[in-house]
Symmetry: C2
Subunit: 543 residues, 2 copies
């Protein structure tokens, strides 16, 4: 690893703009954006993927590897990525920093407490919850309806027992009411932090968050609880983007990690905009497949932040295509041209969708050693037929060397094609029509069906002036539809909208198409059982 000050210098950040967290991590002070105000922005490239499968598609890996490859061929490139959450590291998932020759360093630190951003978000979230309940305890001047407290608690841990709880039991402990914990990444505070332009915008967004309804059904905001200034204090460092490096010393801004279903699943706006001022090219990613992640990147993040994305890279794998073509999880290592062919429509639909946002698109085939030559050839052939560049990516095994063709193809595309970014729908479409547009244009369903509850919620939100917000779809990532088992490119389905919730601070309306669990549980044998310090005091078992 290079000292982080050296990494900072490599992309033009002077020492006084870095606050060190040890030798290899730093926070970037906001002054750098001020200083670089008049510099032109670099190109913004989104890495997204086909629908995720149990085999793992390597989207983060490809993002890191692509940034390394672009740097290796002489373009100053920064990877802008999400911060891992502690909870899942100890559960099923393990770390979230790429791996082998395309990973973020120091990976253990980044996967654990990192620079404390998630802890700060947890504290800010729970301060608001405590002040809300305290407001009720101390007389409830705002006439909050204790049956309509919307703000729960947050913890960065996988703990299913805390999903649904009753608080305030015992004497003198406040009003008895239902509550629950979500994992910190699902907190609206996280989404707010990720979508904020700066510290002032952070405060304004926190102020708008709706935490309860009063007896008259009117929204009660965090500002009314009096918590916003103190929350801003708790978040004053968390809002600064973190600088680390990849395995090849490429600068990486790793900042913010919102849920990809009830939130928008993209790294922070501040991190992205800082990176755009410092680099020729910024490579970023969005959660889940392109039907969720890319759609939200374009319709929420870019729309709100006024970002102008220049290209998208769709990550596919031979394994995931075969899985989407009907092969079972255990036979993905076996050559299977039939399943592969049957899975290609999944890729095709994602490519068509991405073009609807007005950006040029290419395919990166993340290479596994089990891929057969003719399988790879078939994927490339299909891409050629669709008029899309496709290159093999071998960044896991070879680092930047393994992504050279992919990077060159991207550069060619950026030179030859000019993006005309446009969101899928305008702000002034009503909420119902926005949902219908996403269902029709992106998922390709026949339509959607609103539950009576959801219809009433939409009516209330429109009436209260929230109808201009974009929609944030909470849907299974495994299928274009709202049914996890409909793989490939399903048609003829109707999306069931069960519930609508408001994230007024983040600035979107969440559309729930099924039961979304915001607090994961631990598996029978959690990763925590294997994680330990080795004989040299180094973390082992995490990656």
């Amino acid at each position: 690893m290079k000292p982080i000050l050296e990494v900072a210098a490599s992309c033009g950040i002077a020492e006084q703009h870095i606050e060190l967290y040890g030798r290899y991590k730093g926070k970037i002070e906001p002054g750098i954006r001020e200083e670089a105000r008049n510099r032109p922005d670099g190109k913004l490239v989104l890495v997204t993927a086909m629908n995720p499968t149990p085999a793992g598609e390597g989207k983060t890996l490809t993002t890191i590897g692509l940034a390394q490859s672009l740097n290796a061929i002489g373009r100053t490139t920064i990877a802008a990525l999400r911060e891992p959450s502690l909870g899942p590291c100890f559960g099923m998932k393990g770390g979230a920093t790429g791996s082998n020759k395309a990973q973020l360093l120091p990976s253990e630190d980044i996967n654990l407490h990192f620079t404390g951003d998630l802890h700060a978000i947890t504290a800010a979230h729970n301060l608001l919850a405590a002040m809300l309940d305290n407001h009720i305890f101390q007389g409830n001047a705002l006439q909050i309806d204790t049956n309509r407290i919307l703000w729960k608690r947050a913890m960065d841990m996988n703990d299913r027992s805390l999903r649904q709880i009753v608080v305030g039991l015992g004497e003198g402990n406040g009003s008895v009411h239902e509550s629950g914990f979500m994992i910190t990444t699902a907190s609206e505070v996280m989404a707010v932090l990720c979508l904020s332009e700066d510290a002032q915008d952070l405060k304004d967004r926190l102020s708008r968050m709706v935490v309860a309804r009063n007896m008259a059904g009117e929204p009660i905001t965090a500002a009314q609880i009096g918590a916003v200034e103190a929350m801003t204090v708790l978040l004053k460092d968390a809002i600064k983007p973190n600088l680390v490096q990849t395995a090849e010393g490429t600068p990486a801004i790793v900042h913010g990690g919102p849920f990809a279903n009830i939130a928008h699943g993209c790294s922070s706006v501040i991190g992205t905009k800082t990176a755009l001022k410092l680099a020729d090219i910024v490579v970023t990613e969005a959660g889940f497949g392109a039907d969720l992640g890319a759609e939200k990147f374009f319709d929420i993040k870019c729309r709100q932040a006024g970002l102008q994305p220049d290209a998208a890279v769709l990550v596919v794998t031979v394994k995931a295509l075969k899985y989407n073509g009907g092969a079972s999880k255990n036979e993905l290592d076996q050559p299977n041209m039939e399943a592969l062919r049957a899975g290609l429509p999944n890729m095709k639909r994602h490519l068509e969708n991405l073009r609807k946002f007005g950006v040029p698109v290419m395919v990166a085939i993340n290479h596994f050693t089990s891929d057969a030559e003719d399988e790879i050839a078939l994927v490339k052939e299909e891409c050629a037929r669709l008029g899309v560049k496709a290159e093999l990516s071998d960044v896991w095994a070879k680092g930047s060397e393994g992504g050279r063709e992919m990077a060159s193809a991207l550069l060619d595309m950026l030179e030859q094609e000019t993006a005309q970014y446009t969101p899928l729908y305008p702000d002034d479409l009503d909420l119902k029509a926005k949902i219908e547009t996403v269902v029709r244009e992106i998922y390709r369903g026949e339509g959607m069906k609103l539950s009576a509850k959801a219809a009433a919620q939409i009516e209330e939100l429109e009436r209260q002036g929230f109808g201009r917000l974009p929609v944030c779809m909470a849907k299974t990532p495994y299928s274009f539809s709202d049914q996890a088992n409909l793989l490939g490119a399903p048609e003829g389905f109707t999306v069931q909208v069960k519930d609508i919730t408001l994230s007024a601070g983040a600035g979107f309306v969440v559309v729930h198409t099924g039961k979304i669990v915001t607090m994961p549980g631990l598996p029978k044998h959690p990763a925590a059982e294997r994680i330990h310090l080795d004989e040299h005091g180094e973390v082992a078992g995490l990656l």
Copy 2:
């Protein structure tokens, strides 16, 4: 502020032993203790106080000021202090870093997230809770009795609604059972971290923590849950002591902050031992008054860690003496020789008690502008009568200059008198006799009365081999007795022991003499309503 590397150098810590957290905070790597293994230890001085009153006695302030004064007269001195907890900063208390010319810097950082130690402890605590509930959910191979789950959750926040909760409601969310949150400082993980000798001892202690009973009533430990290695990973940085500085650049090791009632209320053993290798004199403090804090410092911290304390300084104030002599809270600014005289027995008893531990003792009179000359003279006179040095401390207003006499008197005492530290009772006294000894020798009660429950608990603990542990008294800090309103030097009372709990990892048995709240609530107008970022982006309203 000096750069922390300069502060480190001033007490002989080379750059490679400091991990920077920004420019003004650092963690001290364990290598320094290894390197300094053969150096003689400095002198260890405990700052303690008479019983606390609403006026505030300034124990932390005096500790910081005394360290500054000792440095100013040429003795390399380090202050070893506790870390503040976030929760109370947003509640009633405000910051906990001294003030004005005797404070820790950077005070806002130290009061907020600091280097993340409390967040790490929270995460480790809650990982164990999640793994425990998950063990039950996944089949309960250990046959844990869900009515005897002892391990609750922790959060660094004042939130009374979380004191008593029911978890696991809803389908698929585990077993429904009672739980609750304590503030992080009350977690046994905090006590364990503070009493550990090193990383190995930390792991061993975590392993011994009892988290539940099985159907047969046998203790189930954290080790059996399989959580210990992962907890150790979460705590790998938290266990390293933090180096900061005082307002005059005196080095301060600020590390660990356990509750002073259900835990022992002293900063970390690792921090103290590191400081002893680096300084001529180490000034440390313990929570609450000397009846609780000093007793636990000697009987738990020094006993377990093999520390040899050299002296104690008792902080008194004219206000607190008058309050203990019957003056009401609102008239403490008024001269009142009668109340002052009536309060002196409180000081006298603490001084007698401290001598029972074999250390020389002096008095520091923390000066307030409202103190009358003849009031101060009377306190000094009483001390002279008792054969105890007493000096005025004006460190709040004047920094080291205001503590010069106090520091000189301490140096004289250290030269003239040799400590013969001895704990109050031996390990092999049974638990009941240990409690009785503390009640008789320190509190001066007539005796104690065990509830039937407590008697049964003692019997069980003795039977299971925990009888050799020291006792950790959880008692009101406001009185020598277990009744908060018995001020001064009460006699003739009987201490009611209601409950006994085991902290097997920390290595003590907690004796509950009343209802101890381990999760504070917020007041009607929490400090959080005033805390904000000012127009320069600096934290305001915290101190």
